[in-house]
Symmetry: D5
Subunit: 149 residues, 10 copies
């Protein structure tokens, strides 16, 4: 029985390993970016009915799982406050080491406010480089100003 969205995420990941499916192919099937699609498959975003059915077919999910995919999930994909996986930790390290820098430069350009993590998109690409290829990530978030009232 399916009790939580996490159960559905485990079913998707297990099917992906067994069938050898690629995330970019899943993205093509539902016609959206690989970043949003992967996040949604990993239980962080909400599919609409049509998308959920495509996902259900691709990963052979039962109807109950397809229903869960359309429910806004409890988000948060890490099991500890500080990630232990080296790839994810490096991102946490960037926030830790450069956090105050990011804050200063956004405030200098925009004033007091934040960069939205909701009206937000991300694009991850390989950048070829003779000294070793690089991971190139573009983050784009709407600036939301604090207002006085």
């Amino acid at each position: 029985m399916i009790n939580t969205r996490e159960d559905v995420t485990q079913m998707i990941v297990a099917a992906k390993v067994a069938k050898g499916i690629q995330w970019k192919d899943v993205a093509n099937e539902i016609g959206l970016s690989k970043e949003w699609t992967t996040a949604a498959c990993l239980g962080q975003m909400t599919f609409n009915k049509q998308q959920a059915e495509v996902i259900g077919n691709l990963f052979d999910l039962p109807d109950e799982a397809v229903a869960w995919l359309q429910i806004s999930p409890y988000k948060g994909s890490l099991s500890t406050a500080i990630p232990t996986d080296p790839l994810i930790y490096r991102w946490y390290e960037v926030v830790n080491v450069f956090g105050t820098t990011i804050k200063e430069l956004i405030h200098e350009e925009f004033g007091d406010g934040i960069m939205s993590a909701i009206d937000f998109s991300m694009d991850i690409q390989r950048e070829e480089d003779p000294k070793g290829d690089r991971v190139n990530v573009v983050l784009s978030g709407k600036f939301l100003p604090y207002k006085s009232y």
Copy 2:
């Protein structure tokens, strides 16, 4: 007396507030990006002798502080493991919500390894948008593969 690099950081920040200096102007003075320069002023990077002296002049620092700027600092700019400031927290949220997505997509493209946080650069720009301007951030890090031995 100066006991730690943090003492120097506080002197720089206090002088910046008092004199109304902008980070981008500091960057121009030492001829490097505003991102690296700000991080270094905030105690996360090491200046060379010439750069340290420029910084010393700009912020009226004593010689002792200029010497500290040339020492590799103990890094980490946040006072709690989970940041309380909303602007910085949104970045932590991105790592928390999209961490496994980032991991999956980098592994799909590159295999097992990480995106370096050392051979790494960042560029923060305003992106004009009629629905509200956006913060556009490009992160570039060398891919480092795990090897077997």
Copy 3:
């Protein structure tokens, strides 16, 4: 010497105790709500130049402090992740006990997304009640939807 915005907050609070000033009178002086004004005096919001000078006069602050009031502060007003003060704890308890309820009902009405804590206002009023007066708080935040891309 002033090293952080917290130093300014302590100066304001100490002056407020010594002079017996009320927050609502401070709010009247700068022509904004008592909620925003108090948050700003307690180091959570950024004053513009004119407002900062009014605050400086009211609390007899030095020029350096007035400059700090115009800098976007590192936000977060509590010294522990779970507040120990009973009044503030009750609010944390509301988030803990009703957090999933709030989430369900906002998603039921609006779909996946959040209630902004930036494009946000708060109004605190006394509600007279023969069984004991009540604290009435209205929170208003823009709904921000997650979008696929």
Copy 4:
């Protein structure tokens, strides 16, 4: 076998997903607010016998579950002290950033004491707004003064 109230909560949530029930319809069935009803279904409040039976019918629960619904539950709906879900986190952020402000203004109006989280109600509504609809939340809690003795 049902060992805890959480088991009942999972049964309700799974049935809700499978049947596509809305919380406001559940509230109508038992004749109370959607806020209290949802909190109770999510394991934070105690139903009386009649209400529990209505809930049991709506969600096809076994008798054992209906008995559990009438037992005062161990409350607390979050799995971590600081919530990871962005919607719920924003509420935690409000407590963190505005906590001292709320404290100051309630004390200024009422003296020393707290706003009750027990003799408490909440009302969540959509507020239409041309710049984007808003979530409007009214919290009402009895003021409880500290007394000397």
Copy 5:
């Protein structure tokens, strides 16, 4: 300079050690219980003007400190979430070991709700006993029921 109520608490405690004053004598001076008086002197309760002046005289406090005594303090008297001092730890242990017992028995007698920690009093007495004297503590708190709405 006095920046926080804690500064005043330290002044009171230091003066108490130096002058050899007893808490019960302080209580007699202001005509209230030794429990409330001690809590207030230790920075957990708010004195009115007359009481604050008595305290000021007893402990030779400056006017500024007397003003602070009349401000509702940020409460919480322990420096760690789990107390290290054995006497205080034993109380934490009682909550830890008997917490669910207390919860069950109050609910059995009163239904769902809490025992108030605000409309609350405490009385600590010596109980003579040939097998070793006992500490006898009476806690009295108003029962506050959860209501549906």
Copy 6:
């Protein structure tokens, strides 16, 4: 299979819900206070053989469970260091806010030492009050002095 005392506690609680048994009736059956009996049923105290058999009959426990009831359990009834349930939290709050007060007054009366949490008893009663009934709790613990050697 029963692996821990907690398994037995869950069996008792589930049977209690199903059969609608009251703790005070359980206490009558074994001829001890409702406080000790409830704590023991909730896995915090050790029953002797005769008591364990009475409990086994009342809750229809298997022989294996009756054997576990006679083993000194690993104590501690809360799942987090700071309790999330509001009723139990209020007790934690009392320790947090009044902890240093309790310490001062016991030391003033008895000298250095502690109030035992082992040679300890508790009595919870309803106190009728026209302004709202109160929960009255008497805690009695032997004073144990530190000795020099």
Copy 7:
């Protein structure tokens, strides 16, 4: 000015380093064991008037410090819940690795209860051994049984 017992502890430790005093000599001066005496000097026990004066003379303490030595201190000598110092960590490790063993064997011999940490003494001796001398520690604590009531 002396604000806390910790200030007195620091004065004693600094004087001890400067004068090269040994703890066993301090113990001889006040006629008690080196274990109790050291604990008391390090701020964990309460001296009586006569003992405090001896300590005051030995370490050249001001009268105010001698008064503090006679006040029951807030106990706990470690700055983190898990000690970082290797010598002290080994003791924590013993509790962690052998904790359940100690519990089982004391219960097997004595029944349910605890070994007191108040009616408690400790004796630390060198045990000569050709394979390397050993530290021999004898801990003696009164057994305190839980009783039913």
Copy 8:
């Protein structure tokens, strides 16, 4: 199926409760101290083949479990960093309150180094005492000096 040594520990403890075996009798069977034997049965030490078979017979363990008993286990017997069980907590309290004392006295006698927790033994005995029997524990650990190199 047995996945971890903990599974074996649970099998031993459950069998011990069901059969009413005493740890000292187990120790006699394998001819070692009750302290080492109990620690090993509780998953903290490694049995050799012969010992493991004796344990297997005593507790009716399957062959797979007997194989696990001969594997060096991941050690640590407590489920929280600070133990909640009162008996074990008292030992933690001793480390917390007397930790710096133990450190000072071992260094005074032996110089810089530690008392080994590996080349270590423990002996727990009842000490009869007319004022109440005592638990007497002797800890013996080799002193290991830090050396310069």
Copy 9:
């Protein structure tokens, strides 16, 4: 069903215990070092297809498990931030006690940067020594410099 790489790790470890296989023999079978091979079997590294099949044969794993061995795992092999097992804790202690030393000496030799934990290898050998054999570990990691940009 296999849901995570940890499930595969448990299958490998259980099979290893049952069959009495040695890690060095596994390493020989796949022709790599015992350090990398063990880490990979314990779920920290990614096998290629051929290696995974060898592992599958050695430990009698189902096809599904062999597929999982070829997926980059979520890394991190410890269940707590500070390890409880004494052998692993000693390594944590080395980082804690010598961390700043390692940092200073690498910076003195190489300038600002890090020693890679990705382009990294480890070799563990027995070093015979008449005073007791030693564990000799060689760690080799590429130096990665921070660059300005």
Copy 10:
């Protein structure tokens, strides 16, 4: 005034920055390895009288500081349980990712026991490599077996 060994460490580090001294030169002056010398200067090891005087001369320390250098310090050089500095974090990551591997291989070679962190030495060297120089670290620790008794 010097209250703790940390005060001395700060004096040494500040003098080192001001004078531009290298750790390897300090090591030469006292005739020991750069690893031990640096650790001792950073407050983790104990100098003998002669060494302490050399250090005192090199860094112009007052006599009081030279006395402190000869006292066994409270060890632990990091301010958080998980280090934030990237260089030191990589070492923590090695323990986290390879901890169970190290444990398995040492047990496979030596049986149950630990690698000592006391009878321990470390050697850090540059290893030239055309693909980028490497940091080469040799750790050597005596194997200490657990014994039964």
